[in-house]
Symmetry: C2
Subunit: 157 residues, 2 copies
């Protein structure tokens, strides 16, 4: 994510708060700066840790309160990767339809976009009498190619 995109996402979120008559606080600034200062997926607990480094007054409660605002604004997506915690993705501001492929051997995650996929989902949904709102495709795989090249390091090693 380019510097300009980060600033744009941040501005959009502050506008979102204003539209909903919500207040811009020091804690929310620290959280938003953290979220749009990375392109990594993160957990709520990671976000708490990182945001505390910017402003030690940020509490767990505020992080958990701010995450739904971030997802509601459409700038961050909440994802389930089958773990017992949720994963948050700040890359939707830029790439609102991307999906993920996960290597079960080494936990590598690769993002991808596909217009053909989006179109097919629309087609299937329409055929069943639905209108798509959101979608989430997770492919669990093994990175055979990379394993051959020695780039897939099994966890057990």
């Amino acid at each position: 994510m380019a510097e300009s995109d980060r600033i744009a996402a941040k501005t959009k979120f502050l506008d979102f708060l204003e539209e909903k008559n919500l207040r811009i606080t020091a804690q929310r600034r620290a959280i938003v700066d953290t979220v749009f200062g990375t392109d990594q997926h993160f957990t709520a607990e990671q976000l708490l840790e990182w945001a505390k480094e910017k402003d030690s007054s940020v509490s767990r409660a505020t992080v958990y309160r701010t995450l739904p605002l971030l997802t509601e604004s459409g700038l961050v997506h909440e994802m389930d990767f089958g773990k017992d915690y949720k994963i948050y993705d700040p890359n939707y501001a830029d790439h609102p339809n991307h999906n993920h492929i996960i290597c079960d051997d080494c936990d590598k995650i690769v993002e991808f976009e596909s217009d053909r996929l989006d179109q097919l989902e629309d087609e299937i949904s329409t055929g069943l009498g639905f209108k798509v709102k959101t979608q989430q495709l997770r492919i669990n795989a093994s990175c055979e190619e990379m394993k051959r090249l020695g780039e897939c390091k099994n966890k057990g090693n």
Copy 2:
């Protein structure tokens, strides 16, 4: 799921246990009978409740111990629908590649299969140097068509 398929799935699971030198107990029988006696998606707690009706000695611990065996055998799939509990699906014995479309308004869930989808996922994964192991597509939608026909009852009603 036809009666014969249910018996087949149950037999497969008992074989699976035998292959792994695991024992066939009364509690496991009650759980398996329950799982393959329905084609509904269920939670672990629901399974506990239903299995207890068949054999009141079934405990929560045994249900939670048996579920990983069922998923490992490939006859049941574990799914995340964005709730804070997992959903289990006994229909994979019959339809090992189906996916789900969920109406956010009325919580209706429709299952679908698509060879084109499977093929596209394979194509995308191969292109990125991965070999697909499992996949999960969730489409959140609103059932416009059914709403028009009065079949989509909003939760608030």
